[in-house]
Structure formats: structure tokens, C-alpha cells
């Protein structure tokens, strides 16, 4: 990378840390440190919600999915707008009126302390794992693509994030999120513009999209109903609603973002921003991946995008096989390029029969190329012993560092840093809040001055920052990064969602029912995950339904002793 690109990345890092640390003064009370004194405008809280969700795993993994698999992944987000409407009508008013710091505090007010503790533990376990993955995934990719030491890339993401989150609290997280969203969107738009400009002169954008469509990359909506397929219209619109309800409604890393908004109405608006913007934004990121695919139809891509693994094979006794495959790959690439040009010409000519014929030839050439690459990937797996080798997540960073002009490389690498930092900052902040409010203040030191809790909150943030960096250094690169993070979350989310459905949606549920229902829900998700091939998106639905059914059954078997004045969605619990 050029010196100018390093300067862009360095400037970005200094700017973000400076901007975060500026907020230290307004974080000198616990209410300011954890909830920004509920002072943020809806758009800032809303951008913070989006930035926390948009991790580097999403940016790099999604462009990789667009390249390899097309735009089907966008269906994953179809449930989001519906979930946001439901949350605006249900949990947002409850959390605001209860004036809680964490979502789990509400469970104690409604049920009892053990239910709150169980929910907080599920959150702390799942999010501490995912916080490490959020840092390790991009750090690993950047270390390989930029040729840097892995420890250095982990620290380059984790240390600045920990510093501004520790000292600036939630204000620093939210306002840096706003800036980081700006960097991310600018980076993605710049990549799209350069990809369009980088097409061969004889290929227009319309031609490029027709080729991508012929290769199946633009199939966005799949109406087939198959529980074992991850991304269909139905899994998105049904199972996706449950995942999004759980993530935005029960995960403290998101709840804390909208609790910083000035009012209940502004909190709702902050969620509705995602409802309007998220699907188009994800479609744009996927389209970026599709355009990278089109770009590499005319410019030869590397056969293997992970250079470190390629070098391992090249240095092994099987280097001859690699050379032969690379030769075969070059020949297949040339044939596919010619076929792509031929099908474009035929389509322009308007001859339907010839268009169909050249399209079939193009698809056959694409299959040959894919087959060669699949054999190369198999070779890497055999030589490296890494059975989960998958270089799809390296496609976009490789394209950026090898094809884009000086300066823009730095901007887009900074955008990848921004996604990792904004997502992990939200996690660290939420982990610290739950640790202090749900564990320390509730069970260890119940009465202490505000300054004491502020100090403990800062120490807890530092602790979670260090833990995330430590875990990130040891985290392995396993399969598709997006799915790893979502799968871990999906094991817990249904259970958390079920507990809030019982708390807010029913009058008769008791603490005993909620607690045992949650244990049953978590156990059922583990059984489904380990014994069936049902897509992970459905785990949330399974978990939530089991929690509600078992929770209500147990609640009806015991005495009903409502706490005075506690409310459910239908009114007072009496």
C-alpha cells in the first residue's frame, strides 16, 4: 500500500479517537456515561443503531457473498422493518417508562432477580464471544491482505476502540458511530463508482448487470419454502422477524443505543431509521460484491484470494499441482471472458436464439472456472489441514488493495476499520453496562456513590476491551464469518426474546415460569442445532416459542402473585 493510503488510515484513527475522547467531559456522571443523559437526537441514535449492527463481518462478508453467491442474502433483512414496527409499539415504551439502564433490569421489575440474572448471563456470554469475533475477523483479513502482523491489526482495531469507549462512554460510542457510518457509506459508494468506471470500454453498466443476471448473481427473491435453506423470502420474513426482534429488542448492545435518545418518540424514530434504510443499504453492499464479480470477468482475478494459504501450497511438495491448476484457471478465465463478450454482443443484436446459445456457453465457461477454483480450494484444504478454508471474505479487500487508486485504498480500508470499531465499541459499552448494572450494583455493591459506579463502569469497559482483544488474537477463522457470528447469537437470542414476550406480552406469566421456560428454550435450541439441518435463522423462533409455551405452562401450575403497579402490554398486572 502507498504511503498516502497509510496516512488516510492513520488520520482516520486519530480523528476517531480524538472525537471519542472529546466526549469525556460529558461522561462524568453514571447517567451521562451509560445513557448520555438521554439527550441524543433520533438520527444520531439511529445511525448508532445501524453502525453497531454493521460490523466488518457484514461489510467484508456480504461483498464476498455478493461475489460468490449473488444478492440472495438481502432476504435475511426482510424481517427487519416489521420487527422495528413491533418493537416501536412494544419494548420501546416499556424500557423508556421503566427508566432502566439495561433491558434485563426490566425483567426483575416484572419477574424476579434470577430471571434477570439468567438473561444478563446469556447476553454477557454470547456478546463477549461475538465481540472477539467482530475484531478478529477483519484483523485476520487485513493482516493477510496488507501483509501485516495479526497481533498488530487486532491491536490497531481493539486498542483505539477500547480507549475512546472507556473514557468517553456511550456519548463517544454514539457520536463516533455517526462519523463512522459516514466513512462506511462513502467508502462503499466510492467502490461502486470505481467498479462501474473500471468496466471495459465496450461493456456498459446495463451489459454488466445482464451478465451478472445470467450468472444468477441478481436473484434477490426466492419464494421456495425450505427450512434447510438459509436465505429465502419466507426465512427472511418469518424467521428473520424473530431474529431482528431478539437482536434489537433484547440485546443490550442495541437497546442501549436507542435508550440514549431524548424521548420515547425519538427512540422509536431511531429504530425506524433502520427500517427504512437497512434493506437498500445491504442491497447496495451486495451489489458491490456482484460488481466485483463482473469486474473479474474481464480482469483476471487471483485463483486463491488468501495469499498466505496460496504461499503454503506453493512451498509444499504439491506446488506442481498448484501451478498446473493456475495454468488451467488462466485458460478458463480467457474462455469465460470471450463467452461474456459474445453473450453481450448477441443480446445487443436482439437475436433470441443466439443470445440463449451464447448464454449457455458463458454459463458452461463459468462452471469450468468454478470447478478449477474448487479443486484449488480442495488442494489448499489438504495441504494446510484447514478444513474450513473459505476465501470468499478476502475477495473485496483483495480487489480494493490491488485494483483501486492510491488514496481510495486507504479510504476503504479505513471504512473496514470503521465497521469493526463501531460494532465492537457498542458491544464493549453494553457489556460493561450489563456487568455493572445487572451484576455489580445488583449483587456485589448495592449502595455506593455515583462516582464509584462511574469508575467501575470505566474499569469494566477496559476489562471487556482487553478480553475482546485477547479473544480476537486466538479466534480461529471458521467458515463464512457472517454465519459464525449469527449462529452464536442465534443459540441465545430466541431464549431472550421468549423471556421478553412473557414479560411484556402476557399478564399471567410468573418469575418461576419465565426462568424455567428460558432454560427449556435454550436446551431446545441446542437440541435443534445439534440434531437437525434446519437453518440457523429458525432457531430464534424455536427458542422463543418453547420459552413462551413452557413458561406459561409452569406459570399456570403455581401461585400468581403480581407486584403492585407492574404493567404488561394490556395494562396493570393485577
Amino acid at each position: 500500500m502507498h504511503l498516502l493510503d497509510w496516512l488516510v488510515i492513520g488520520t482516520y484513527l486519530v480523528w476517531i479517537v480524538y472525537d471519542g475522547l472529546k466526549r469525556t467531559k460529558s461522561a462524568n456522571e453514571i447517567d451521562g456515561y451509560l445513557l448520555a443523559k438521554r439527550s441524543l437526537p433520533w438520527w444520531a441514535a439511529g445511525l448508532s443503531v445501524m453502525a453497531t449492527q454493521l460490523s466488518a463481518v457484514t461489510l467484508v462478508g456480504t461483498t464476498g457473498q455478493g461475489y460468490a453467491d449473488g444478492m440472495r442474502f438481502v432476504q435475511f433483512y426482510f424481517g427487519l422493518p416489521i420487527a422495528m414496527v413491533i418493537l416501536s409499539l412494544t419494548v420501546v415504551p416499556f424500557f423508556y417508562r421503566a427508566r432502566v439502564y439495561t433491558a434485563y433490569e426490566y425483567l426483575e421489575q416484572r419477574f424476579d432477580s434470577k430471571t434477570r440474572m439468567l438473561a444478563a448471563i446469556l447476553f454477557l456470554v454470547s456478546r463477549s464471544l461475538s465481540c472477539g469475533v467482530i475484531i478478529s475477523a477483519p484483523a485476520l483479513i487485513l493482516s493477510i491482505v496488507l501483509g501485516m502482523n495479526l497481533t498488530l491489526t487486532v491491536l490497531a482495531i481493539g486498542v483505539p476502540t477500547s480507549v475512546y469507549t472507556m473514557f468517553g462512554g456511550v456519548q463517544a460510542v454514539a457520536w463516533t458511530d455517526v462519523k463512522q457510518m459516514g466513512v462506511i457509506v462513502t467508502g462503499v459508494l466510492a467502490a461502486v463508482v470505481l467498479l462501474v468506471l473500471g468496466l471495459p470500454r465496450e461493456i456498459s453498466l446495463s451489459d454488466a448487470l445482464h451478465i451478472a443476471g445470467a450468472a444468477g448473481r441478481l436473484k434477490t427473491v426466492d419464494f421456495s419454502f425450505d427450512l434447510t435453506t438459509n436465505y429465502t423470502f419466507w426465512s427472511g420474513i418469518i424467521a428473520g422477524v424473530f431474529l431482528m426482534l431478539a437482536y434489537f429488542g433484547c440485546d443490550q448492545s442495541q437497546v442501549q443505543r436507542y435508550l440514549t435518545a431524548k424521548s420515547e418518540d425519538e427512540g422509536r424514530s431511531s429504530l425506524l431509521l433502520s427500517a427504512f434504510v437497512k434493506i437498500p443499504l445491504q442491497a447496495l453492499i451486495l451489489l458491490t460484491g456482484v460488481l466485483v464479480f463482473v469486474f473479474y470477468l474481464f480482469t483476471q482475478p487471483p485463483m486463491l484470494f488468501n495469499e498466505v494459504h496460496r504461499a503454503k501450497v506453493a512451498a509444499s511438495p504439491r506446488a506442481g499441482e498448484l501451478t498446473a491448476l493456475e495454468h488451467e484457471f488462466s485458460t478458463a478465465f480467457a474462455a469465460r471472458r470471450e463467452a461474456a463478450l459474445a453473450t453481450t454482443e448477441a443480446r445487443r443484436g436482439g437475436d433470441a436464439a443466439r443470445t440463449a446459445q451464447t448464454r449457455d456457453a458463458f454459463l458452461a465457461a463459468d462452471r469450468t472456472l468454478k470447478d478449477t477454483r474448487a479443486r484449488a480450494v480442495h488442494l489448499v484444504k489438504e495441504v494446510s489441514g484447514d478444513r474450513s478454508y473459505n476465501d470468499v471474505n478476502y475477495v473485496f479487500p483483495t480487489f480494493v488493495t490491488t485494483q483501486l487508486p492510491i488514496g481510495l485504498v486507504g479510504l476503504i480500508i479505513a471504512a473496514i476499520f470503521a465497521t469493526a470499531m463501531s460494532a465492537s465499541a457498542g458491544e464493549m459499552n453494553a457489556l460493561a453496562t450489563s456487568t455493572v448494572i445487572d451484576v455489580y450494583r445488583r449483587h456485589i455493591r448495592k449502595q455506593a456513590p455515583d462516582a464509584h459506579y462511574l469508575l467501575v463502569s470505566k474499569l469494566a469497559t477496559g476489562f471487556w476491551g482487553l478480553t475482546a482483544c485477547g479473544f480476537a488474537l486466538y479466534a480461529a477463522n471458521a467458515g463464512s464469518l457472517i454465519e459464525v457470528v449469527n449462529k452464536v447469537g442465534s443459540l441465545f437470542y430466541g431464549t431472550l426474546l421468549g423471556s421478553f414476550v412473557l414479560a411484556i406480552g402476557t399478564r399471567r406469566a410468573t418469575g418461576r415460569g419465565a426462568f424455567w421456560g428460558m432454560l427449556a428454550g435454550f436446551a431446545s435450541v441446542l437440541v435443534v442445532a445439534s440434531t437437525t439441518s434446519i437453518s440457523y435463522l429458525w432457531y430464534n423462533l424455536v427458542g422463543a416459542v418453547v420459552v413462551v409455551v413452557v413458561g406459561m405452562a409452569i406459570s399456570y401450575t403455581g401461585p400468581f402473585e403480581p407486584r403492585p403497579g407492574v404493567r404488561w402490554i394490556g395494562g396493570a398486572v393485577e
Binding site: M71, P93, A98, R99, H210, G213, G216, F276, G565, R567
Partner: protein, 43 residues
């Protein structure tokens, strides 16, 4: 540090129109995505 969950609820602004708009925009977005793929020859 926190008030109870028993605070008297203040009626929030009715936002039925906004919620319907969210769902309408989603339906239009999904239709547009489907049409986009269909127009460019997605199989």
C-alpha cells in the same frame, strides 16, 4: 438511580401512519429488488 417500572405511562404519539409507511416502503423495496433481478435476467 432508576425509577420503578410502575411509572404512570405517558401516552406516546400515535404513529400508525408512520408504521404503515414503513410496511409500504418495505413492500415496494422487495418488489423493486425482485423486478431488478427479473429485468436483468436472473434465472
Amino acid at each position: 438511580m432508576t425509577a420503578a417500572a410502575t411509572d404512570t405511562p405517558q401516552p406516546g404519539r400515535r404513529r400508525t401512519g408512520t408504521y404503515l409507511l414503513v410496511l409500504l416502503v418495505e413492500a415496494l423495496t422487495i418488489t423493486a429488488l425482485w423486478a431488478f433481478g427479473h429485468y436483468f435476467g436472473a434465472p
